[in-house]
């Protein structure tokens, strides 16, 4: 059981983080983060702020540590040093059930697709709405229908992930990531195996909210094709443990 002061602080962070439209903290901040347990360049730390409504892509080699950023942003793992703040809350410090609740403000696409193999693509998209929201069944069905149309999944809705092709699986995983209309979406290697046109199309759909405004998107990739770069506001190259700004 944590001391009372720590509990109070955590509760305050959660309240602040869950207060929609009130807090002005940026969606995602990496502060003084070491990308590895034993950094090659101990004097360099990773710093990055993802502002609201922007699409930021971090590019890096497999051993650059870029692949860990998504897990840290979700609080699935903690960085060796430094801290990660999501909507002002140090996500790694939240207790487990607060963290589960908090993650409903964040959409996530893991490496691969993370789809549940025993569910159809439609049920995969419906999953967060059914278990992580208090919508009625009819509301869930309505929202899922919109997502299936928006992500062009209607014709493959009843296929299981193993029966669908890679692009449809990716579409379903991304539709699931935005199902709860999150303020921030974290994508890990979202364009792998997609054509540049499909990648551009999907990134556009993920960053667009139902009311027409844009949500913050943070993607980690090993490579970024020029056509997708056009839809990105910031490109960060992760090199030698630090973030280097590149032209989009």
């Amino acid at each position: 059981m944590p001391p009372a002061t720590v509990r109070t602080a955590r509760t305050t962070w959660l309240k602040q983080a869950m207060s929609f439209g009130v807090d002005t903290a940026p969606p995602l901040v990496f502060r003084d983060v070491d990308l590895k347990e034993r950094p090659d360049h101990p004097d360099k730390r990773f710093q990055l702020t993802v502002e609201a409504g922007t699409v930021v892509v971090a590019i890096g080699d497999e051993d650059s540590g870029v692949g860990d950023l998504g897990g840290w942003a979700l609080g699935l793992r903690r960085p060796p040093s430094g801290r990660v703040e999501v909507f002002g809350a140090p996500i790694g410090a939240l207790p487990y059930y607060d963290l589960l609740l908090f993650r409903r403000r964040i959409g996530y696409h893991p490496v691969g697709d993370g789809l549940l193999q025993n569910l159809t693509l439609r049920d995969n998209v419906a999953l967060p709405l059914r278990f992580a929201s208090d919508h009625r069944q009819a509301e869930v069905d309505g929202r899922v229908n919109l997502l299936m149309d928006d992500f062009r999944l209607r014709s493959v809705a009843l296929l299981r992930p193993a029966q669908a092709n890679e692009e449809d699986r990716r579409r379903a995983a991304l539709a699931r990531a935005v199902a709860l209309d999150p303020d921030l979406v974290v994508l890990e290697a979202p364009f792998d195996g997609l054509t540049s046109r499909a990648g551009q199309d999907l990134l556009d759909r993920v960053s667009r909210r139902p009311d027409g405004s844009r949500r913050a998107v943070f993607a980690t990739v090993q490579d970024l094709v020029p056509s997708v770069r056009k839809t990105v506001q910031r490109v960060i190259k992760v090199a030698d443990g630090a973030a280097v700004e590149e032209a989009p």
Binding site: L115, P128, F131
Partner: protein, 260 residues
């Protein structure tokens, strides 16, 4: 000498740690029921119905067959032996105490463990290895609610229902064995009903609850504890099933002490 004591201590501490982990896991699974969302309730109900179909309906044939054979053998042999000393009235005690109170629940639970316990452990371990558990947590979904709770409820309902089925078949089959030895139905039913009490009914229900929860919780715990990769799945299944069998026998002994 010190090394031996240290090794025993380490082993004991490891086992205690597993027990503590299991207790926390079981508590988490029970508490998850209170956090179900509205739409989640419908989905959980659907998964629960499926679980009952796999666990209870598909095992009903095997349970019926084994209950009939076991009861027939026990009663045939008992009547033959007791008949020599003119104590055939004691078959009521044998069928109620041995078959219905002890062997029935044990055998039913073992059937469910061998069919569904293995499936639950393998499914949970696969979910973990494929990254599906992490995906659920990343979506803000409690894996207890989505994975463990419906299986636990399904196993409890299924084991209790199969125990009742086992008892009904055992009583019928016991009558067939008695009839073949020349005992008429009024006498058989009189002997059985005199011995059968309310205690046997609540014991059956309580065992269904405890054994059913064990059938889901132990395999789930060991399945979700997999970390290394697919090669660990068979080991997790074995650990889950062995732990469930031990738990069922230990709790059966505890029931004997409580009911004495």
């Amino acid at each position: 000498m010190t090394a031996v004591v240290a090794a025993i201590g380490r082993s004991g501490a490891r086992r205690l740690s597993v027990l503590g982990g299991l207790a926390r896991f079981a508590l988490g699974a029970f508490r998850a029921a209170g956090r179900l969302t509205r739409a989640g309730r419908w989905v959980t109900l659907r998964v629960l119905i499926n679980q009952i179909r796999f666990t209870a309906l598909q095992a009903a044939g095997l349970v019926t067959f084994l209950a009939a054979i076991l009861s027939f053998l026990v009663i045939s042999q008992t009547i033959r032996q007791l008949g020599r000393v003119g104590a055939t009235d004691l078959i009521g005690t044998v069928i109620v105490v041995a078959v219905i109170r002890e062997l029935g629940p044990l055998l039913t639970a073992l059937i469910v463990v061998s069919r569904s316990g293995t499936a639950i452990a393998a499914e949970m371990a696969t979910n973990r290895v494929m990254g599906e558990v992490t995906a659920l947590e990343a979506m803000g979904i409690d894996p207890y609610i989505y994975l463990v709770l419906p299986r636990m409820l399904g196993a409890v309902v299924s084991v209790a229902a199969l125990m009742i089925l086992f008892d009904a078949v055992a009583l019928t089959s016991g009558y067939l064995a008695a009839a073949l030895s020349g005992m008429h139905f009024p006498r058989y039913s009189n002997i059985v009903l005199t011995t059968l009490g309310a205690k046997d009914i609540w014991l059956t229900l309580a065992k269904g609850l405890v054994f059913g929860a064990a059938v889901a919780i132990f395999p789930s715990y060991h399945g979700l504890a997999v970390k290394a990769g697919p090669t660990e799945i068979p080991q997790a299944v074995t650990r889950g099933v062995v732990a469930t069998i031990v738990a069922i026998f230990v709790s059966s002994a505890i029931f004997v002490v409580i009911a004495a």
